[in-house]
């Protein structure tokens, strides 16, 4: 099975405290640690496991700048066979539809049976996979937490729905799936693995390579635009307990007793 996995380089929220810049037009990016979007990492692991079972090839693709090459390499160290970087100044400021248009053009340059994305990235929009599927006229399933290959024509997939329940669907290939965290246990990537792929050539394609007009992608093509970042006016919020740890614990124990937290 030929599998394409779309990945994104994002600030790692487990490693960073996100704060809004003083100008309000961005988050503070000075000291941010970046990594591959957590959901995408699960998607790559799933692709590798599928290929381990039924054979095939995994390609990882990112829309981004030169620094996105490092996450493509990381995912190749995990076991993806090929990387592809989609890079062009004309892509800057793309909305979800713009990003999906870029990826659609890249899909057209290859031949893939299955396309995976993460269920969402740092902006929480959860949109690119579904848009890409509709543009390609492929069937789509989101929030996938189980993939079983039935044959070379169809898959059985589980979707995570409300209440911890799982919705089982049969879906025809080629298709697009957005992968939910927890579907597998992504393998660890060591320094040695990274070194092995350090010199592998990663092809780069821009707007003209992909046959994309500048008005269909980037800020020019975007109907959805971010105006600013801000910290919302908060409500009263929690009463913060202050003092030494001992004092805080004493206050907390009194509260727990009063509220029925200690029996």
């Amino acid at each position: 099975m030929e599998i394409l996995v779309c990945v994104k380089r994002v600030p790692d929220t487990a490693e960073n405290e996100i704060s809004v810049s003083s100008a309000g037009n961005d988050i503070e990016r000075g000291d941010l640690v970046y990594s591959v979007n957590e959901w995408d990492n699960y998607a790559v692991e799933e692709a590798i496991q599928i290929v381990d079972r039924v054979g095939g090839n995994v390609t990882v693709v990112a829309v981004g700048d030169d620094e996105s090459e490092e996450i493509l390499r990381r995912e190749m160290a995990m076991g993806a066979n090929d990387g592809l970087l989609l890079k062009d100044g004309a892509f800057d400021g793309s909305d979800g539809k713009g990003t999906a248009s870029i990826l659609k053009a890249a899909v057209g340059k290859g031949k893939y049976d299955l396309i995976l994305t993460g269920a969402q990235a740092e902006a929480g929009a959860a949109q690119v996979g579904g848009m890409l599927a509709a543009m390609l006229d492929y069937p789509y399933a989101s929030l996938v937490n189980k993939v079983e290959v039935i044959d070379d024509k169809k898959l059985k997939v589980g979707r995570e729905i409300e209440g911890g329940n799982q919705e089982i669907n049969e879906i025809e290939l080629p298709c697009v799936l957005s992968i939910q965290t927890g579907i597998n246990e992504p393998r660890y990537v060591g320094i040695r693995g990274i070194r092995k792929v350090a010199s592998v050539e990663i092809p780069v394609m821009g707007a003209s390579d992909l046959g994309l007009g500048a008005d269909s992608v980037g800020a020019a093509g975007a109907k959805v635009k971010r105006v600013d970042y801000f910290v919302p006016e908060m409500g009263a919020g929690a009463e913060m307990l202050e003092g030494s740890t001992e004092e805080i614990i004493d206050k907390l124990v009194e509260l727990l007793k009063a509220k029925g937290g200690l029996k």
């Binding site: 600030p11 929220t13 487990a14 405290e17 704060s19 988050i27 979800g96 539809k97 929480g124 959860a126 949109q127 690119v128 996979g129 579904g130 848009m131 599927a133 543009m135 492929y138 069937p139 789509y140 399933a141 989101s142 929030l143 979707r159 729905i161 409300e162 209440g163 329940n165 799982q166 919705e167 089982i168 669907n169 049969e170 879906i171 025809e172 298709c175 965290t181 927890g182 959805v224 971010r226 105006v227 600013d228 970042y229 801000f230 910290v231 919302p232 908060m234 409500g235 919020g237 929690a238 009463e239 740890t245 805080i248 614990i249 907390l252 124990v253 509220k259 029925g260 937290g261 029996k263």
Partner: protein, 321 residues
């Protein structure tokens, strides 16, 4: 202005809570008449449509056996055929809306904006909304060009439901316009969540642990505290994703909904998916080393501390009582 529609999700003949939240959100668009659109089949669909006519001036019913289960790939085709191309369509940002919305916006050639938490308003064709990024750590204003229509998904619980039920609306049968509903994805069955050894939905006191625990081996201190308090242990999503605890202990929209009297959130940042699983207005105590963690906005009492150091000291104190 363009016509505004609200898609009603329902189950077992009853509309989802989001149905009246969408009605409230639609008012913020300045729409004087909002149309509910409901898909499904048979008596359950009729019951929901009748119910919605109390809250929406017009209810478009699309009855087709192919939509007995709400398969987004099928529903999308029906909506593309029935709705005017330049309409504004509101959907809940739940597991169905996430499945349906992005592809629908492409097929309708509409703009798409998802997980909206507030609507500032509509000026001309420009819609201004508020979203959150980075798990709620930063908010953004977004503008959306709705000139050719828009699909907008709204975060459940962000808009106070419009309970007025004074619309006195009518049901219009649009089933004949649904068109060809064949799809390349087929719903097979729903597998119910596994039941664990502890039923956290029945617990009075929950000690809930999140990413702040850092390592599986550290979980013991949480179980020690829970034992001292005679409480049960629950957790947030990352702990289940890491396979450190079973899914039946996960609190949140993708896990279980709990209604304890006291909820202790330990090293949990407080993403809306987690908080959405805490009901019944419990007394919430949040302990987190990041003073900006969103959990402090919903907690009654907060403590800025590293749970790895704080929990053992609290356990000792409780044991000594």
């Amino acid at each position: 202005m363009a016509q505004v529609f609200a898609y009603i999700t329902h189950k077992g003949g009853a509309a989802d809570d989001s149905a009246l939240e969408l009605a409230a959100a639609a008012k913020k668009l300045g729409a004087d008449a909002v149309t509910a659109v409901v898909t499904g089949t048979g008596g359950e669909l009729d019951a929901v449509c009748k119910d919605m006519a109390a809250s929406y001036k017009e209810v478009w019913k699309i009855d087709n056996a192919a939509m007995a289960y709400p398969n987004a790939e099928v529903v999308r085709k029906a909506l593309v055929n029935v709705l005017p191309g330049d309409c504004l369509l509101l959907l809940p940002h739940d597991t169905f809306g996430i499945d349906l919305g992005p592809g629908l916006s492409i097929k309708m050639n509409s703009a798409y904006v998802s997980d909206v938490v507030a609507i500032d308003g509509l000026e001309g064709a420009t819609l201004k909304v508020v979203r959150q990024e980075f798990g709620g750590a930063a908010s953004t204003h977004m503008t959306v060009d709705t000139g050719a229509g828009a699909v907008v998904t709204l975060r459940p619980g962000s808009f106070a439901a419009d309970e007025s039920k004074s619309a006195g609306g009518q049901v219009v049968d649009k089933s004949g316009d649904a068109g060809d509903l064949t799809a390349k994805r087929k719903y097979l069955e729903t597998v119910a969540a596994e039941v664990g050894d502890v039923d956290i939905t029945k617990s009075d006191v929950l000690v809930s642990v999140g990413r702040g625990i850092e390592d599986q081996d550290n979980l013991q201190i949480v179980f020690d505290l829970a034992e001292a308090m005679k409480a049960d242990v629950s957790c947030s999503r990352p702990i289940v994703d890491a396979k450190w605890l079973e899914k039946s202990r996960q609190v949140g929209t993708s896990g279980l909904t709990v209604k304890p009297k006291v909820y202790m959130a330990m090293g949990i940042s407080g993403a809306f998916q987690h908080v959405g699983g805490i009901k019944g207005n419990p007394f919430i105590i949040a302990i987190n080393k990041n003073p900006k963690a969103p959990i402090f906005q919903v907690a009654d009492v907060g403590i800025e501390a590293n749970i790895l150091e704080f929990i053992p000291e609290l356990t000792e104190k409780i044991k000594s009582l």
